[in-house]
Symmetry: C2
Subunit: 255 residues, 2 copies
DNA sequence: CAAGCGTATACCGGATACGAAATACGTACA
DNA sequence: TGTACGTATTTCGTATCCGGTATACGCTTG
């Protein structure tokens, strides 16, 4: 059971034309606006407006809005349009809790599946991460951290669980981490614990390590989020803040 | 630049004209086709085709395809179109694992938050479920089961976690359960264990009960899924099932 | 002056039509 | 037989139009 997860993910067929859809560009753009706080909850987002912003037509813009609605960033008010969904620091904490649960599951499976070669690859990445941390190279640090987690997730060998994790981590701007003081050191020690669990093939120990790692990171980000919410808004006009009663059409899925 | 919404909306509730979008209809339709096995993995799904099927134009059809891509039912091959994503019985099991983790978290929080009134309401629903089971009333059974779980999820008080659960349960056709022999009885006993945990305010006991409940249900459904995969395809229309090899563009999100 | 009502406007949801680019497929040629 | 080319099909994006509805504004009335 060394290498290659059960899924047949034929990696990288060159396919040349790496042309991302315009709708994906628009999706990332609006998502960034929401996560950065430029678009606040309750704001109405119009297709033509964002089309003008990016110099595209309304068709891909509407597709982007639809995608963001599925992701939970926007809500659709039937004859009004798309409004930015509420997003609080507590929401961020909750999402990190979910991320921890899913990431923990993946880590546990990775530990169960890990072969010698996997461990070696992870350790190589880990050492590169340490080197980047020592040089204070934020970009490379972020890159290696991403690669480290990605490798673990792939080792778990479950397409759909990785997919769900991706839906959660859309709420987590990666570039944020590197700006947290003390984060590199904490990450190094956390990753060493993860490595220990994987090396010894101990799923539950690895799961616990991953959960702690994610929750810890999440608390830092959520605190920053709260701080930003407390900050005054750009102050265009004397806006009555319109804390409108959110329609919040929860469907509360069942089992 | 993006305009702010007209903040004149004077706090009047939108009355919810209850008009479902055409794109949502299309989304549900295609999702049903995929889950029922009529659309097999690798099949190319064209906007015009589904537009003709439902008597709608390509505009809402394309929005539906975009939504299904976010949900993971479809993959987008850049200049080719949308193809049905691979979906195996193991995928279903994995998704139930995720559902168990998230549902367990919600149940644990519900137990922590539960007040007397909440418990009373849950017990009322539970008794109605028992009554429906005794009458062999499948529709009402399904309805009460849904309401029971919904109530627990709402008690947890986390918008975003419920949202994530909804993304997972899109892969679980609710109407399936009631057709499983012996499921009503198993559900009643499982729910009683859940109630016990909530009544005593024991989060971890409740979490464990919910995890067991979901995993148990999932195994039944996944077995059915495997069975169907082994079966030959309906062979109704010509439709030569364009078995293009799915590229499976995993992005493997990180933390 | 305040409250109710009717009209005007804005905009969503959807339908088409059209064009450019790229891929797939069939055919002709060496 | 293998390769190159040309055509057909399709995706992706743009532009435009229309019906229906919710909101905003202004007028009338008590």
């Amino acid at each position: 059971m060394i290498r290659k997860s059960p899924q047949t993910m034929t990696s990288r067929s060159p396919r040349s034309s790496a042309r991302p859809q315009l709708s994906e560009k628009a999706t990332a753009h609006i998502r960034g606006l929401i996560m950065s706080g430029e678009l606040r909850p309750g704001t109405l987002v119009r297709p033509e407006t964002i089309g003008e912003d990016l110099g595209i037509s309304t068709t891909p813009a509407r597709e982007a809005l639809q995608a963001l609605r599925v992701e939970g960033f926007l809500e659709l008010v039937p004859r009004r349009g798309f409004v930015v969904a509420p997003l609080t620091g507590q929401d961020i904490r909750d999402l990190f809790q979910v991320q921890a649960l899913i990431g923990g599951e993946l880590a546990a499976r990775a530990a169960a599946n890990a072969g010698e070669q996997d461990v070696a690859e992870l350790e190589a990445l880990h050492h590169e991460l340490i080197a980047a941390a020592a040089r204070n190279d934020h970009d490379r640090l972020e890159e290696k951290n991403h690669a480290f987690h990605r490798e673990i997730n792939l080792m778990a060998g479950s397409r759909k669980i990785i997919w769900m994790l991706g839906l959660v981590t859309r709420y987590v701007p990666r570039q944020f981490y590197s700006s947290i003081p003390g984060w590199p050191q904490a990450t190094v020690t956390d990753h060493e614990e993860l490595l220990e669990g994987i090396r010894t093939g101990d799923p539950e120990k690895t799961r616990a390590a991953m959960v702690a790692h994610i929750i810890h990171s999440g608390e830092l980000l959520a605190a920053n989020f709260d701080e930003r919410l407390a900050a005054p808004l750009p102050a265009t006009d004397a806006e009555p803040a319109q804390e409108r009663s959110g329609p919040a059409a929860l469907d509360a899925a069942s089992a």
